[in-house]
Amino acid sequence: MEILEFLNYGFIRRALLAGSLISLICAVLGVILVLRRLSLIGDGLSHVTFGSVALAMFLNVYPLAVSVPVVAIASLGILRLTEKAGIYGDAAIGVVSSVGIACGILLASVAGGFNVDLFSYLFGSILSISMPEVVIAVIVSGAVLAAVYIHFEEIFSITFDDEFARASGIPVTRINSIIMVLTAVTVVLAMKVVGIMLTSALLVLPAVTAFQNARGFRNAMLIASLVSLLSLVTGIALSFALDLPAGASIVLINFIFFCCAFLVRNLTGSRVR
């Protein structure tokens, strides 16, 4: 089967395994984040990731070791800003992301520029993913999926009606913190798949595609996951076959799925208001 020949390559198999898992958790978290009007958190945190990668290069340490804690703290910072400083999520994301990118630029300037290395993080390089990074992706994906499965009802309740959830005794602050930390780790991993510039797309596009025709919260998560997985596999296959950048291909396939879902919704009249 010539069409599956690309699976003979180890780097493709690694990319498919890690990419599938990362795109899956992006889709699941994306449904929650978009419904909570935190769609741009992926964008904001990826800017912080840029700053943290610059810091790692400045310190000459492994980027993930710096990015994960820094971005997790930034993510919790966004949550606390919305809760304590009385500002909306979009403004909190704006504050944190601009600080993140400013730090990155400053560090790059002080270090005299990081040239190609930093550039690879901006646009992603899923095809060059290493085995340890695959292992990290498996562990993080397992943690995200387990957390969402265990707390599914609570997450649904908080996402729909935060005040009712609190009145029902759900530990809203704790669950919100878990979601934000998991989002941060996911964004750092997604940077490897599509790059800092396009991370937000992996969170937002599958979710908004699912919302076009989904008939339930669980149903939305399933559709988003399926769309995300199909986009990842098709994107990597296209990138290999046509020698295109993998990250951009994945995002554009995601967008094509969105256009199809939008057309189906309008042609079938589902969700007409």
């Binding site: 419904l35 009007r37 009802e153 609570e154 649904f156 309740s157 996402t159 729909f160 009606d161 005040e163 009712f164 959830a165 609190r166 009145a167 029902s168 005794g169 759900i170 699912a210 919302f211 989904a214 008939r215 339930g216 919260f217 669980r218 149903n219 939305a220 969700r271 208001r273």
Partner: protein
């Protein structure tokens, strides 16, 4: 049995006092109409009772526990004030939303959950729209879904923040009859925030008039006889309110 007790409750937003020295008690089986002008602190009081807001001073007890520490949340059914608080594009069905009311109190058996949801859907006459998305419904239908969510866990205390605002007259009548049944036959304690001071007297056993502090707390007949209230509202207004009650 005291279900709710507040003592010298004070809440400030910044330097602005919202509630001052609010002290009252709610006994099992009471049906309280909580009334007052806009900005009088009604919703703030509800949030304190539910343990969602920490008072600057004073205390709130709920079923004998500090409101913040109270764990048996399945005893409480709550309908928040705003109907338009949620994302209208939220991809959730009516049945999914009603099921949220069963979260408090842990994971019930699947059969019990299904049975309770069915009962509530039928009681609120929303069985036919169980698979419709919440955003596709009218305001009145959405309100009925949220009422079903508040009632599904068979609570001992119902806290309703302007529950009838979006209901049509027929549904409103049925809803008030349902509340009366729950109160009289099952001893459910009810606190209802409303602007309909005359209408609430038809159903509630007590009236709590709030305007940052308690202006009046007691039975409706006592309210109608009160000279203080005649002075506060003007005798003509008091007469109109009490006329609607009788």
């Amino acid at each position: 049995m005291t279900i709710i007790g507040t003592k010298d409750l004070c809440v400030n937003f910044g330097t602005l006092p919202v509630l001052s020295d609010v002290t009252f008690g709610v006994q099992k089986g009471d049906y309280i109409g909580l009334v007052g002008p806009n900005g009088s602190g009604k919703s703030t009081l509800i949030r304190c009772i539910l343990g969602l807001l920490r008072p600057a001073k004073g205390s709130v007890s709920l079923f004998g526990h500090d409101a913040h520490e109270m764990r048996e949340r399945e005893k409480i059914g709550y309908l928040p004030q705003r109907i338009d608080f949620f994302n209208p594009r939220f991809p959730s069905t009516v049945a999914e939303i009603v099921s949220q009311g069963l979260i408090a109190g842990g994971r019930a058996r699947r059969g019990y959950r299904k049975n309770r949801i069915e009962t509530m859907l039928e009681l609120l006459e929303i069985s036919g729209i169980r698979n419709r998305l919440i955003g596709d419904l009218s305001g009145g239908q959405q309100q009925r879904v949220l009422i079903a969510r508040a009632l599904v866990n068979e609570p001992e205390l119902l806290i309703l923040d302007e529950p009838a605002s979006a209901l049509d007259p027929e549904t409103r009548g049925n809803f008030f009859s349902l509340l009366q049944d729950l109160n009289e036959k099952r001893g459910v304690t009810i606190i209802m925030v409303t602007h309909d001071i005359g209408g609430i007297g038809e159903y509630a056993s007590k009236l709590l008039y709030l305007d940052k502090k308690i202006i009046f707390f007691g039975g409706f007949d006592e309210f109608c006889r009160s000279e203080n209230m005649a002075q506060f509202f003007g005798s003509a207004s008091q007469h109109i309110i009490c006329h609607e009650h009788h």
